[in-house]
Symmetry: C2
Subunit: 472 residues, 2 copies
């Protein structure tokens, strides 16, 4: 696959929006590109309008006065063959067919329509993304399929068969200050398919981590080769959907995919060493670990946080995820006990930071470095139970922020990686207070998770991949 | 165990707060009871004060001018023997020892102190809750250990070895409009233990569902007998913590409990038919199912919601949880297709309500009854992806509420149970919009879950218990 093609996909000098909407301006493709800061020229195409969002509108792509790099189709499926003819005639390089209603419907005539469009594109040297997909989000180049995605660019890329899945993942990641290099939602893939994008991203200097949402692949061998090529340079995290019987049926009516058997995919993950995740949330969790916990040297965790039942549950969660929670050395326990002002505080591992949120910041200042030096552990997870002592009262919210500030100051001086769990429950004020604390921690470069389950699983998954790598 | 004892626990005519705080009034026990509307008389006890929160303060319990039903100890551990002597002398019926620093510390002297207090209580005919626990939350009687718990009373009761665990569960439940009859956090249980409370709740007419957080039990046979007695009348949901090796260690230093082996507990659940859950969140999820989804007749689910990858993922999640997602009858699919205005909408099961939130309310009005009549399914889960199309824009938030209103109107007319999944992600405005929609649904008596995982697992767990019951 040529670099030139992908340069045109991610850096089009001109974009035509075929079927530019005259009514739904705010969420239409034209205004979306304008608002997101796309720096090239935009050509709305719609025979029923002369101007859209202040831009001159053209009846067909053929009427556009300069070469078109990328055309986005936002027209009914039945009109796509003619529009593709026009694109071929005008020398358009790439068409992104947003339109749905093709082979994914399972209907013979729709399948034929898709084949006809593919044939016209091939004959006319037009490369195609889609149909039935959201296309490209490339913040560095001002391209997006949602104006509420972050403008910040990052080093994570996503190749997704699903547009809604890609949208969910980008929002989730952005809210955790994880930013993207390139996101492609490619849908039915009548031309460009997952391996094409993966091969490109393998060499892409703007991409450090590759994530992938897959329902099914056409050519397993090619997909595997592409993933292996990526893995020579960077980690690849894959969520494979449609692995259950009914899930496979749902995948078939979504992107006309053959989902493949669970056994085949088990073998795929074993052979490639790609990191397997079971949900989009888990994918975001693992990315967080790769970005901010990459120096975790083993599975032994020191748990710091509210004790009592909350500490017992946290311990169970870590062990179930495949981590170890060994007791601290007696000397560590003695030192922790010495700095604790409260009776009945546990110090064995987990260690109780404080009964109330008010003592938490103080513990972070004095206790974290004691935990950090214990040779029994490889990393630290500290959990702040914002739900039971952080958020419902104004003074508690202030203390929660103080605890976060204490972490921002103390964590950089630790020798071992540390992740923070901020659990907020489902109360609005608590959730809002938690987000403020999270923002502060994320800005300080600290890994933050919404639950002990998420943190423990993410580190365990990432460690497992590391161990496989080492043994390979 | 006599009913009279529990009448005194839950309906004390007088409460003494031993070690009433003169400084931290707002979160102290005295002001807590006053603010929560406790209707009896409160006697602060503190030799260093003459008045606390406008109430006359007494130097010791002996000086209180009338009989005391319940005394709450908020004093250092070393002062508890003397205070217990005073209670025995004054004829106090029940003492709740909030104080920690006893056998849970693992220290010999602390263990001896606990034994001494137990001895004094026994000799003086004083029954004890605790030490190292939060005591009682009984909203109908104005008793609580947190003023931010709901005043509303409900039919769920909780017996919890952990105070923080109880607090987390009550908040989580309250936020989902699940209200409590009686909650007891009993800690180290030097006298009253889980079986005592369970035996009482078995017969308690105010309790319809019993939940239980357990780290370890002293007398397995007695615990099992108590749970079986409850199960004759009402469902019992148990979260057993400390089942992993390190978790058992953490439990020992929390409530001095012997956690017991995983095998023993497997057998316990098999033999009793109690419902087993792995987290406090799952406990709340199952309670929601018992309260609002109890007529689910089997495991076959019809999924309604955003399609595409989101629908494929939802299908996988349901099947993994042990539910079935069979295709709708061809006639159902035809009818669903006939009402759909959009191309490429899937109707096989899952059925796509609408691409955008704007079409969702309309689908609920027209499509739900079609799904409801399909004989292939036993119940419906509809998921609203507030994260990708509900919350980030003001108009979307309005549409989200419209969708909830449509459900409030249409669900009562359905013949099959329906649960709603409102997934909000981690964005404040989306979360806030989700909570408004949830409130509306909960008020309409509809079961609501925060994720497809939570909904699917809750119904699967509840159905499994139902099936075991039937075969027993």
């Amino acid at each position: 696959m040529s670099q030139e093609l992908f340069n045109q996909i991610f850096h089009p000098r001109t974009v035509a929006v075929v079927g530019a909407s005259t009514i739904d301006l705010e969420s239409g493709w034209v205004v979306r590109l304008v608002n997101f800061g796309y720096p090239g020229r935009i050509y709305p195409v719609n025979p029923k309008a002369s101007e859209i969002a202040g831009l001159k509108c053209y009846p067909t792509v053929r009427d556009i006065p300069e070469p078109v790099d990328l055309a986005i189709f936002n027209i009914p499926a039945r009109l796509t063959p003619q529009a593709m003819q026009d694109c071929a005639a005008r020398g358009v390089k790439i068409v992104h067919i947003f339109t749905a209603g093709f082979s994914e419907t399972g209907k013979e005539e729709a399948r034929k329509l898709e084949a006809r469009v593919a044939e016209i594109a091939r004959a006319g040297n037009v490369r195609v993304i889609g149909p039935n997909c959201m296309g490209v989000y490339y913040p560095a180049g001002g391209l997006t399929f949602s104006t509420t995605f972050a403008r910040e660019a990052g080093t994570v890329s996503l190749v997704s068969q699903s547009g809604a899945g890609a949208t969910r993942f980008v929002y989730l990641a952005n809210d955790r200050h994880i930013y993207f290099s390139k996101v492609v939602s490619y849908g039915n893939a009548l031309d460009l398919d997952a391996p094409d994008f993966l091969e490109y991203l393998a060499e892409d200097s703007e991409t450090a981590i590759i994530t992938c949402y897959i329902e099914g692949v056409r050519n397993g061998r090619r997909f595997m080769a592409a993933v292996k090529r990526c893995l020579q340079w960077k980690p690849v995290i894959i969520m494979k959907a449609g692995l259950t019987e009914s899930g496979a049926g749902a995948a078939a009516s979504h992107t006309a995919s053959l989902a493949g058997s669970a056994l085949v995919w088990d073998a795929f993950f074993r052979q490639t060493g790609a990191i397997r995740v079971d949900s989009l949330e888990e994918m975001a969790d693992v990315v967080m670990a790769l970005l901010r916990m990459k120096h975790v040297g083993g599975r032994r965790v020191g748990i710091v946080g509210r004790g009592g039942g909350i500490g017992v549950i946290a311990t169970d969660v870590c062990e179930r995820a495949g981590l170890k929670v060994p007791p601290f050395l007696p000397e560590t326990q003695r030192q922790l006990e010495a700095i604790s002002p409260e009776a009945g505080i546990t110090v064995r591992n987990p260690v109780e930071s404080a009964r109330e949120i008010a003592g938490t910041a103080d513990f972070y200042h004095r206790g974290l470095k004691i935990v950090d030096t214990d040779p029994q552990i490889d990393f630290i997870i500290t959990h702040i139970a914002a739900d039971i002592y952080g958020g419902r009262r104004q003074d508690m919210q202030t203390e929660l922020l103080k605890a976060a500030e204490a972490l921002a100051v103390t964590v950089p001086a630790l020798t071992k990686p540390l992740a923070v769990v901020l659990y907020a429950g489902e109360h609005l004020e608590t959730f809002s207070a938690m987000l403020r604390a999270r923002d502060l921690l994320l800005k300080a470069g600290i890994a933050v998770y919404p639950s002990m389950e998420a943190a423990a699983r993410a580190v365990a998954i990432f460690r497992r991949a590391r161990d496989i790598e080492k043994n390979a």
